[in-house]
């Protein structure tokens, strides 16, 4: 068994172990969950640094024939390339942090940890899968746990509505995406959803233009919904606002990126014709994320809604990078995915702490908290500065790279929109730092406590250190990503001799 498969299995085995422990041994359950995710985090780190940068192919690859009967051929094919290496690392790390911040859960702890561990395992599996069937399969594992977690441990009066909304949106997105995948399966001639086999089949015989367009729109709408692509995004802020801290961390940080991974794995490299004809759609919609969600975030008084909307705005950069269809832009997309995973997880962990300590999530009711909680306050400042794209944090590297890519590949109006998205982000991030941390300490918040013990500080420290590490050494990521991104772009540009495709590339962006 490869290191990668062990990494996927660890959370699921931990969940099975938790099933066997009686429900009232809360401490034991928590220790098992922490230990399991800590092992996964270590394995993820080892995997990331053992991954040899520079090669284009997959590493740690393994394939097991899973089904080959009755017209269904599936291989449990896993492997890592530059695109998934970083995501696997941060998934494992965020998974550990999510378990670590869950110390406040007291009710039905056993069920909670089983569900949490299955979400983590599902996310790791999705990033490791090289068979699109299993990518979908692992991604969907999170659906029921998310629903139950929002309902049982969620916050706020709207959580019932939010739980249904997030579930229905995600299912609709996933089903539309699935239709696209099935169309690929049956019509590509590969008779399989294995990425390698699909690419071979498509290289031998490109798909018909009509089919390409159909699959492209299924994937963009379907998987775009999972990421929160404008205008299919409204589930996200509300769902996160009502979800328990750990669920919001995993969802906003990790699971959202599975949709981007699917677009990177399928929409760009396998549908070059459709990309050249319809790539501009992504460029237009991502402006919606950057500007519209940014403006919405600016108006929020609820910290969770602000973080949720700002995370959608950041996803705009990821889509922008995809829409450039050049190596710099796609590399930037993956950098944004990785850095935003850490950022979103850290933001929700912080808002969970603030809510726990102050009893409110309204920004207007906080103030002067830096004096009461120096550690959390400092981390919050670091986190929000990272969110504005300040150099020294990983997000700067990602967003800057995307902008470079966009400058090459997209019309100036899109680039200007993206640039104003950054300014808007700066406005609301800095404003909330002022409102939450600065000013005179409020009398009614004197009960609020800082994270004192190193054990409480650990999850925050891990996430913020990750942001700083990749901010200072972005090349550890970029070197791994670039060959894979180059391969994606090479295939995406490989439009072949179809005359309609050429005509469309001449005017790629009627964005106005």
């Amino acid at each position: 068994m490869t290191l990668l498969n062990t990494l996927i299995l660890v959370p699921f085995l931990t969940a099975l172990l938790v099933v066997l422990v009686p429900g009232n041994y809360r401490f034991v359950i928590r220790c098992i969950a922490l230990l399991g995710t800590a092992i996964a985090a270590v394995l993820g780190t080892v995997l990331f640094f053992k991954f040899v940068p520079g090669g284009a192919g997959f590493q740690f690859e393994s394939s097991y024939q899973w089904a080959d009967a009755g017209g269904l051929r599936l291989a449990f094919h896993t492997g890592v390339d530059g695109i998934s290496a970083g995501m696997l690392l941060v998934s494992a790390v965020v998974g550990f942090a999510a378990v670590a911040v869950s110390w406040e859960i007291e009710r039905q702890a056993k069920l909670y940890y089983i569900l949490l561990l299955s979400i983590i395992g599902g996310a790791l599996g999705a990033f490791a899968s090289l068979d699109l069937f299993y990518l979908y399969f692992f991604n969907e594992i999170a659906l029921v746990p998310t629903f139950i977690m929002i309902g049982v441990w969620g916050r706020g009066d709207d959580r019932n509505y939010a739980a249904f909304k997030i579930t229905l949106y995600l299912t609709l997105g996933a089903m539309v995406g699935l239709v696209g995948l099935i169309a690929l399966y049956t019509r590509s001639g590969a008779d399989s959803l294995d990425i390698v086999k699909l690419q071979q089949a498509i290289a031998a015989k490109p798909l018909a233009p009509g089919l390409q367009d159909f699959v492209f729109f299924c994937l963009v709408i379907g998987f775009g919904t999972l990421v929160g692509l404008f205008p299919f995004h409204s589930w996200a802020p509300q769902g996160y606002a009502c979800a328990p801290t750990a669920t919001a961390m995993l969802h906003a940080g990790i699971l959202k990126k599975v949709g981007l991974l699917a677009l990177l794995r399928v929409a760009l490299p396998m549908l070059p014709g459709a990309v050249s004809r319809w790539g501009w759609v992504l460029a237009v919609l991502c402006v919606g994320n950057l500007l519209y969600c940014g403006f919405v975030a600016m108006r929020q008084r609820d910290l969770n809604l602000l973080i949720g909307n700002s995370s959608l705005a950041h996803m705009g950069f990821a889509f922008l990078g995809l829409a450039t269809v050049n190596v710099i832009g796609v590399t930037g997309t993956v950098l944004v995915m990785v850095s935003h995973a850490l950022l979103a997880a850290l933001s929700f962990a912080l808002s969970g702490w603030l809510r726990r300590q102050t009893g409110t999530i309204e920004i207007g009711q906080m103030g002067g908290l830096l004096a009461r909680m120096p550690f959390i306050g400092t981390v919050l400042i670091a986190c929000f500065l990272a969110g504005c794209g300040v150099p020294g944090f990983a997000n700067f590297a990602g967003e800057l790279t995307v902008m470079f890519g966009a400058w090459h590949g997209l019309p100036a109006v899109v680039v200007v929109a993206a640039w104003s998205g950054l300014v808007i982000g700066g406005v609301y991030m800095l404003r909330s730092i002022r409102d939450i941390l600065h000013g005179a300490p409020r009398e009614e918040l004197r009960e609020a406590r800082d994270a004192v013990s190193w054990w409480r500080r650990l999850p925050f420290a891990v996430l913020v250190l990750g942001l700083i590490y990749f901010g200072i050494f972005p090349n550890t990521l970029a070197n791994r990503i670039r060959p894979a991104a180059a391969e994606v772009v090479r295939l995406a540009k490989n439009t072949g001799p179809a005359p309609t495709a050429k005509a469309a590339t001449a005017t790629p962006a009627p964005a106005k």
Partner: protein
């Protein structure tokens, strides 16, 4: 003739008679033990009888009740028949375990209840092997009449009597249609044997009398699986009947209808079926829409399952509409997942009914704390019905959707059907997850005392949960059974308007 072909049916018939007789001498306090013994007996048949049957026919189809060499007997034993016999026996075992749990609510005549379940099972076993309209009708009547009794078994409850009467009247109507259709088919084809009809279908395809007869026959079978426009009875009957009877109706009776539809549509008249592809597409789409939309406002879990069973009939019809062996394969896989899923849900309903005397969704409040096992089983069942991986329902739906997508290239109607199916899945999520909500956080529970579960229920639930996960995670085992079973019809015919290489 070779009686060893019928060994499964003979053993089950003997078991049913044995249960009836044992009731004469057994003191009443041993009734529960009798049910368990019957379940153990079926388990024995499952192990011994199926093995014997498989050895008897050894891959190629074997026929009974007909000219020995002609391969046109009334009774056929092939891969499809054996698949369904295993299916029905497993369902029968689990339903008997459930009935044991439910026996104190049944009141008088508990042993007859067990015996009737076994006789209904016998009808289903014969249906699995029907290769003739006469055996089709006889086996279906055996199923229908036993279910009339089973549905109205709780004589003290008006709802149960209502369920029985509705099923009786609607069932009789459907049977009348069917027997009239059979008469027309026999009148025009001069035979009732599927193999002989198959040989003559080219001439019969132009004969309006035959087509009318066939359509009436289909109506009777669609009634069995509760497909639009013959679905009216399902919600009322599901709600009123005793829970184990509903469970058997949902799983066994529906599967009997499915296997007979397969035998008629693809075994007897595949070429006519191909010309009727639009009809199948319409019925599937309307059934999915009706079941999904009507399930939304339901508050009674059993009634909800009634509408869900209609929607699921629609998904099963996707496989028929695909006109492909892969579609048939998907139907079989979906049914197998449906067996474990629905029986898990009804096993939970049985226990909840015993403790709260209500199947309203509000009665489930607090179940997450009262019994994590029951809550988990119900949540898994609902998630599997909604088609969420890694559970059985997901792979079933995946196979069914996969079977109709390629047809869209020849007939855009299939893309519309696909859209309806996707829409139905999203809608169904709303009501299935509503049940999960009721279990974990819906409403205020007045009573939070733990619910104890007896060991027969635990066994049934363990088998169902294991089945749900097994079929979702390791599809190869079941696919190696469904593949050959779906292969008995060979290459299926396609409509004349499709290109010749459509498959």
């Amino acid at each position: 003739m070779n009686y060893s072909l019928l060994q499964v049916e003979l053993l089950v018939a003997l078991l049913g008679l044995g249960v009836l007789l044992a009731d004469l001498w057994l003191p009443p306090r041993h009734r529960r033990a009798l049910g368990l013994a019957a379940a153990a007996g079926l388990m024995l048949v499952f192990i011994v009888g199926i093995r014997g049957a498989v050895d008897t026919y050894a891959g190629a189809a074997e026929y009974a009740f007909g000219a020995p060499k002609a391969r046109t007997g009334m009774y056929v034993l092939d891969n499809l028949a054996v698949f369904f016999k295993q299916f029905f026996l497993l369902a029968g075992i689990l339903v008997l375990l459930m009935s044991v749990e439910y026996s104190d609510r049944i009141g008088s005549g508990v042993s007859e209840f067990f015996a009737l379940v076994i006789f209904a099972l016998l009808g289903m076993l014969f249906a699995a092997s029907a290769n003739d309209l006469v055996l089709l009708f006889a086996s279906l009547e055996l199923v229908t009449i036993t279910f009339v009794v089973l549905n109205s078994y709780q004589r003290g409850r008006a709802a149960s009597i209502e369920a029985g009467v509705k099923y009786l009247i609607m069932g009789a109507l459907a049977s009348a249609f069917m027997v009239f259709g059979i008469a027309l088919v026999f009148g025009s084809a001069n035979t009732t044997n599927f193999s002989e009809i198959h040989a003559a279908q080219k001439q019969l395809a132009g004969n309006p009398v035959f087509l009318v007869g066939l359509a009436m026959l289909l109506g009777g079978l669609l009634f069995k699986i509760a497909a639009v426009p013959f679905q009216m009875w399902a919600p009322d009957v599901y709600q009123g009947s005793p829970a184990p009877a509903t469970a058997f109706l949902a799983v066994g009776s529906k599967a009997a209808g499915i296997v007979l539809l397969l035998r008629v549509l693809f075994g007897a008249v595949p070429q006519i079926t191909a010309q009727w592809s639009h009809l199948l597409v319409w019925i599937a789409a309307l059934t999915i829409l009706y079941g999904s939309l009507c399930a939304i406002p339901q508050r009674s879990l059993k009634r909800l399952m009634g509408y869900s069973s209609i929607a699921n009939a629609g998904y099963l019809l996707l496989g028929f509409a695909s006109l492909r062996a892969e579609g048939v394969n998907g139907v079989l896989y979906y049914l197998a997942g449906y067996l474990f899923t629905v029986l898990a849900a009804f096993a939970v309903v049985c226990v909840v009914l015993r403790h709260t005397d209500s199947d309203d969704l509000s009665a489930l409040a607090g179940l997450g704390q009262r019994s994590p096992l029951l809550a988990g089983a119900l949540a898994l069942a609902m998630a599997s019905l909604a088609g969420i991986p890694p559970l059985a329902g997901f792979l079933g739906k995946f196979l069914l959707l996969k079977s109709i997508v390629p047809n869209g290239a020849y007939d855009p109607g299939y893309y519309c059907l696909l859209g309806v199916a996707v829409f139905g899945v999203v809608v169904s999520l709303y009501y299935y997850f509503g049940v999960i909500r009721a279990v974990y956080w819906g409403g205020q529970a007045s009573d939070l005392s733990p619910i104890a579960t007896s060991w027969p229920v635990r066994i049934a639930l363990a088998v169902c949960i294991a089945g749900i996960f097994w079929l979702g995670l390791f599809p190869d085992n079941l696919l190696s059974l469904t593949g050959p079973a779906a292969g008995v019809f060979g290459k299926l015919a396609t409509p004349a308007s499709w290109p010749a290489n459509a498959h």
